[in-house]
């Protein structure tokens, strides 16, 4: 440890850190305050006497109630959850096998395949939704959850494959060689030894995939038409902005409730998540 003067640590570490945290968290704070602020305060000017633009003097649940009672928000939440979970599972399973194959098996074209998978990840969704929409229509999946459950993996599988491939490469190959000598088949060694050891990597890939599908907007907007099939991000925007009227209170309440599950998932696995992205396995 280097010995440093205290003021230096304050100036170069604590203050920038505090500024950074304030900057990142302020939108969340603003969202929360707006969600609990009565309309009278929301639309009042800042110059009004007793104005409190940065906090609320009369917190209210009217927007939350309105959101839950007048819109299909609970249905959207359920749709989002279901779609996110199913597409995460599909992507994880495919990503685990594909990542293992690319990391471990020597076969003709394996490197090309790895690069090709990465390139598919780089194709922007804003382009990809056009041909995908045609496919969805052709398969008559439009306006059903399957439209999203099957299209989200097109982005998630390349991502999971790459993340897991990197993680599998950090696991010493002697572990599975030893398992194979101990009596396991290659597949058995993968399932019994490599996957359990890779749990931090698998969890990070899963969390990331879950978050991406939870927040996904453009496919959900294009493939889902009726109000009861929408996901939270699309539902909130399309049902709570009517013409040029923004229902700010309900919008923010929807955003707040929509981000809670993701926050819970993150906080639950945060330790695994960090080791999954940064750490490796020591024998």
């Amino acid at each position: 440890m280097l010995i440093e003067r205290k003021w230096k640590k304050w100036v170069f570490f604590y203050l920038p850190m505090a500024a950074f945290i304030a900057f990142t968290l302020f939108p969340f704070y603003w969202m929360a305050v707006t969600a609990f602020r009565p309309d009278s305060e929301l639309y009042a000017t800042w110059r009004q006497p007793n104005a409190a633009p940065l906090w609320t003097l009369h917190p209210t649940l009217e927007h939350v109630k309105g959101l839950l009672q007048t819109t299909a928000f609970p249905t959207w939440l359920w749709n989002t959850m279901l779609i996110a979970i199913v597409s995460t599972i599909i992507s994880l399973v495919c990503g685990m096998f594909a990542g293992y194959a690319l990391a471990r098996l020597r076969f003709r074209g394996s490197e090309f395949l790895g690069t090709a998978i990465f390139i598919t990840y780089l194709v922007p969704q804003t382009l990809l939704f056009i041909p995908l929409a045609d496919i969805i229509r052709g398969m008559q999946l439009g306006n059903t959850p399957w439209a999203l459950m099957l299209t989200y993996p097109t982005i998630l599988i390349p991502f999971c494959t790459w993340l897991l491939m990197g993680y599998f490469k950090t696991i010493p190959k002697e572990l599975e060689e030893c398992a194979r000598i101990d009596g396991a088949t290659r597949f058995g060694a993968m399932v019994r030894i490599i996957f359990p050891v890779a749990i931090p990597g698998i969890l990070s890939a899963g969390i990331f995939a879950f978050t991406l599908s939870w927040n996904e907007f453009i496919y959900a907007l294009v493939f889902m038409a009726s109000a009861d099939q929408k996901t939270v991000p699309v539902g909130v925007i399309s049902e709570l902005i009517r013409g040029d009227i923004f229902f700010w209170g309900q919008l923010m309440a929807g955003a707040l409730l929509g981000s809670v599950p993701v926050a819970i998932v993150y906080s639950f696995f945060v330790e695994y998540y960090v080791t999954g992205l940064t750490g490796s396995v020591k024998g």
Partner: protein, 366 residues
């Protein structure tokens, strides 16, 4: 228990690298055979082919009476200990050792009995519930060995198992492995780059270089009668001294010469040296075949030369004297009771019975 026979074994990698060239080995039943050589000499590749972890390009490997060329590792009835131990980090010590038995469908009682038996032999009984990360290097090594012995395999394979241990522990584990092998009486193939390990552990030692077997023999045979210059230089520490020499003289009085050095060819070598007259020769002298000549050695002056010592290394049980002779740096290992100062000029005498001659071109021993 089984013998292992390797015939005309070759390994070519896809990039064209010929890692193992026509290796032939017979590992006898219950024998401890050590493969030794510098890194990249093909010893580990050979071992991995016996294990079934590496495909065989051509040749044949038999374990017992069975040709195992195309058998997957799990059907070869072998156990392997890896350099990095390869303990399963998510399993306890007990489960690490039990895994192989579980995969083979042994009953729970039998697994429990065998694991505890092996743990007792290795002194890791109290560690069975721990995870590998809670163990020291030596303890991990024991668990890795334990995992191999619970299965009672036909052959043990060791891939540099002691390389990750510190020097003191390595010496201790070396003795334990030797003791264990005597107790278990299982055929073992052991790969190492450390010639001391090879000499102390092996019933027989195989020296390899560039994918080719250089010599197979008992440790003292390799030390005393090296087949070529490579083996002579690889086995023994400090290494054998090599001097390029020319031959002169005629009849029974042949002399070899190098810069500042003129030594008579010992009688037993005369015929062989004469047959090589005109070719360049290399003289090999082990450090302990060099003695400090004293006055009464006058008769032996045919085998002596004088030089100045550069560096003195007093090691306690011996002293190493570094000097230049014949145009090359040389080392002599002498008795610690002798008092020698650096830069002192000394007359060394060679033990005529312990000289080695090599053809300078082919490097094989005369």
């Amino acid at each position: 228990m089984a013998n292992v026979s390797i015939r005309n074994l070759n390994k070519n990698y896809d990039n064209g690298f010929h890692a193992v060239k026509d290796v032939n080995l017979e590992v006898r039943d219950k024998e401890f055979l050590v493969l030794v050589g510098p890194s990249g000499c093909g010893k580990t590749t050979t071992l991995r082919m016996v294990a079934g972890l590496e495909e065989i390009t051509s040749g044949e490997i038999r374990i017992g009476e069975q040709v195992v060329n195309d058998l997957p590792p799990k059907e070869r009835d072998i156990a392997m200990v890896f350099q990095n131990y390869a303990l399963y980090p998510h399993k306890s010590v007990f489960d690490n050792m039990a895994f192989g038995l579980q995969m083979r469908g042994y009953a729970k009682d039998e697994i429990d009995k065998r694991v505890r038996e092996a743990a007792d032999i290795l002194g890791i009984g109290p560690l069975l519930e721990r995870k590998p990360r809670q163990l020291s290097g030596g303890q991990r090594q024991r668990v890795a060995v334990g995992r191999a012995i619970v299965r009672h395999p036909q052959v043990f394979l060791f891939d540099e198992p002691l390389s990750n241990l510190d020097a003191k522990l390595r010496v201790q584990m070396r003795v334990e492995l030797k003791r264990l092998h005597e107790q278990l009486e299982t055929t073992a193939i052991y790969v190492t780059h450390d010639q001391v390990e090879a000499m102390t552990l092996g019933d027989r030692v195989v020296v390899m270089k560039d994918g080719v077997v250089q010599q197979v023999g008992e440790p003292l045979e390799l030390y005393g009668q090296p087949a070529n210059r490579f083996v002579a230089g690889f086995i023994g520490s400090p290494a054998m001294n090599f001097v390029e020499v020319t031959v002169s003289g005629a009849g029974d009085a042949l002399w070899i010469q190098a810069e500042g050095m003129r030594v008579r060819v010992p009688t037993e070598f005369i015929d062989r040296v004469r047959a090589h007259a005109g070719k360049r020769l290399t003289l090999g002298v082990r450090p302990e075949a060099l003695r400090i000549a004293n006055g009464s050695d006058a008769g032996a002056s045919d085998y002596s030369f004088a030089t100045a010592v550069d560096v003195v290394e007093p090691l306690g049980n011996e002293i190493l004297l570094n000097f230049r002779a014949g145009g090359v740096p040389m080392v002599a290992r002498v008795d610690p009771s002798l008092r020698v100062k650096a830069h002192e000029t000394i007359r060394f005498s060679l033990d005529p019975e312990r000289l080695h001659f090599f053809d300078a071109a082919s490097e094989s021993a005369l």
